[in-house]
Symmetry: C2
Subunit: 367 residues, 2 copies
């Protein structure tokens, strides 16, 4: 195998496929990048079996072939080379030679035949969505996935397509995040994608309106973003019927300025931090909400103006869950729907109906 | 005690004195900031005994007094408050009340009488130097201080004033860093300042030409920077006679472009990293220097143009020590003086005679 490639192009390609390489695999071959010539381009692939990323980059191919090369050291070498043309050539002793101006590296490579084959996916494109919208939907839900593996299905995000809508849903037993967008498709899909996959997909997605194409098979999802393909296995099992958790009715409704509320909660949470309970109490009355918290260090009282429709209420929360939601939301004003001090709290945008957040309250001993 | 203060001013003051507070002291009082009213200002002090920082900030004093307040929680609260006037007042139960707009905190305070007194230093100013120059001198030497406590004196930097020169010297047994500046004083000083102190001093020093005033006592050094005073104990013991280590003669001299040499060494070091030896070899001949390194992963060969005065030489180094020096130097070209493959290597600026770096070579088995 022999080719030349511009340093910046090769570096970007490596950086893309490295997102699938954990570097901690017990199989050495999975710590490598698979490089294969293909007419006037290179196909780079990284994989940890569950997640594989493949990207195509421009290259002058002088002699065809394929190798696997340790991703970490190869990435470091390419990154440190001059910003110029890089020449790569297989030489004796299972090695490649990397030459760029007056720098010359010899590096042992692995056998490309040992690299796992990617799942064969028939690219009947099922739907496509602008990159910035998908990126935003992932960002708006991924924080609510479960971090422990007690219930593996909750470490993923539900991709649900129905009624010409794409819904992304994450929940961890204490809170739920739902983002929705219209989608021009009659397909019906119900698949759970690992959170790790979507975290890497989100890094590759750009803030523009170009499309990402998404294909499903019974066991896999394929994202095609420009010259890059991301293939991930799906999580097995049934996702929780999230619709039955979200209450449709409420007894009181608050409208609040999002940043003012966020700042007040963040300050109130400083006192709760010490005992690691993050407990804050809301005292909602007329045009006024009082947030309090205390610990052995002292106490805090925050007051803010709200619009209240309904009866006054006292309710307590783990401040972390509210902070996560209010930080991720985008509108200036939020609507909070409550029913009782032990019922779920629903947070929505005031104007756009594209997200629903649910946070469970903390039941106080003296209630 | 009762006062008001602008949030941004109080926050900056806290941030300055927090640099002396490790937060890990077994004496709770040392995790606190001492706050004392003083006419129309507050004096804030943080201390870990070895290092104390005191700063004065503008404040409207309504009632005099002094308290000690936990630095971490106090700093977090002030940082999160609205950017407006903060009202602080001592109330019952050893507490203070912090009020800013609609935020109200009650926080337990400690007894200011338990706070250690700062060493009394007679501020006969011994010398003054522009902040940016001192900052640069610290930056140019601190990396060469010893990181382990085997020989405590080597964890400090020697401040030597003689012959109208200020010299800062650090060494750790493998390399030495010396920075010099002219100083208009007839004093003679020889004191070793803890590296930790200078690291914090360096963060407080600004990139401008305003003066920092420096006073010595037999056991302490005092830096006065604007409204801030930093007092540190000196390290006990005799510093190594560094002059006897720096060779005055050499057999060959190289002139090289600093960044080109740095990049070549950084690339060559990628191969040495795996075995953690960082070993790179120089092969110096005429207008050409070849740098090589190898490990079980492969090998690297870098070539660069140099100007050589003297005989060819082969010599090996720990790449880390050369990288540290070449990164910190500022001129485009460096001069390297060598005598043999087992003698120290001296690195200097080509044009300005304000620094001397020494790196010991690695003795190769086959030499």
């Amino acid at each position: 195998m022999k080719f030349t490639c511009q340093k910046s192009i090769l570096q970007e390609g490596i950086s893309t496929v490295q997102k699938a390489i954990t570097g901690k695999s017990t199989l050495p071959i999975l710590n490598g990048i698979h490089i294969k010539t293909n007419q006037n381009e290179l196909i780079l692939t990284g994989s940890d079996i569950d997640l594989s990323i493949e990207t195509k980059i421009k290259s002058d191919i002088i002699e065809e072939g394929s190798i696997v090369i340790d991703a970490k050291i190869f990435g470091e070498i390419i990154r440190k080379l001059d910003n110029d043309t890089i020449h790569i050539d297989t030489i004796d002793n299972n090695s490649i030679e990397i030459v760029c101006n007056k720098s010359r590296f010899t590096l042992i490579h692995m056998n490309s035949e040992d690299f796992p084959e990617l799942p064969n996916i028939n690219e009947n494109m099922i739907f496509s969505i602008p990159q910035n919208i998908l990126k935003n939907m992932i960002r708006g839900t991924i924080f609510a996935t479960a971090q422990d593996e007690t219930r593996p299905i909750l470490t993923g995000i539900l991709f649900e397509i129905k009624d010409k809508n794409l819904n992304l849903v994450a929940l961890d037993g204490y809170r739920l995040a739902l983002k929705s967008e219209n989608l021009d498709t009659d397909n019906i899909i119900n698949a759970v994608i690992p959170g790790k996959t979507l975290s890497e997909v989100s890094k590759i997605l750009e803030e523009n309106e170009e499309s990402v194409n998404i294909t499903f098979t019974p066991n896999h999802i394929l994202f095609s973003i420009g010259e890059t393909k991301i293939i991930s296995r799906l999580l097995e099992g049934e996702f929780i019927k999230y619709n039955s958790i979200i209450p449709e009715e409420y007894n009181l409704k608050i409208i609040a300025k999002r940043i003012v509320l966020l700042n007040s909660i963040e300050r109130a949470s400083l006192m709760g931090k010490d005992g690691n309970t993050n407990l804050i109490k809301f005292d909602i009355e007329d045009e006024n909400m009082v947030i309090t918290s205390n610990s052995q260090l002292g106490m805090v009282r925050e007051e803010l103006n709200i619009i209240l429709q309904g009866e006054p209420l006292q309710i307590a929360f783990n401040s972390k869950y509210l902070i996560d939601v209010l930080k991720i939301m985008e509108e200036d004003e939020v609507v909070i729907e409550l029913s009782s001090s032990v019922s779920p709290c629903i947070i929505k945008n005031k104007n756009t109906n594209n997200c629903t957040y649910l946070v469970l309250p903390v039941r106080l001993v003296n209630n």
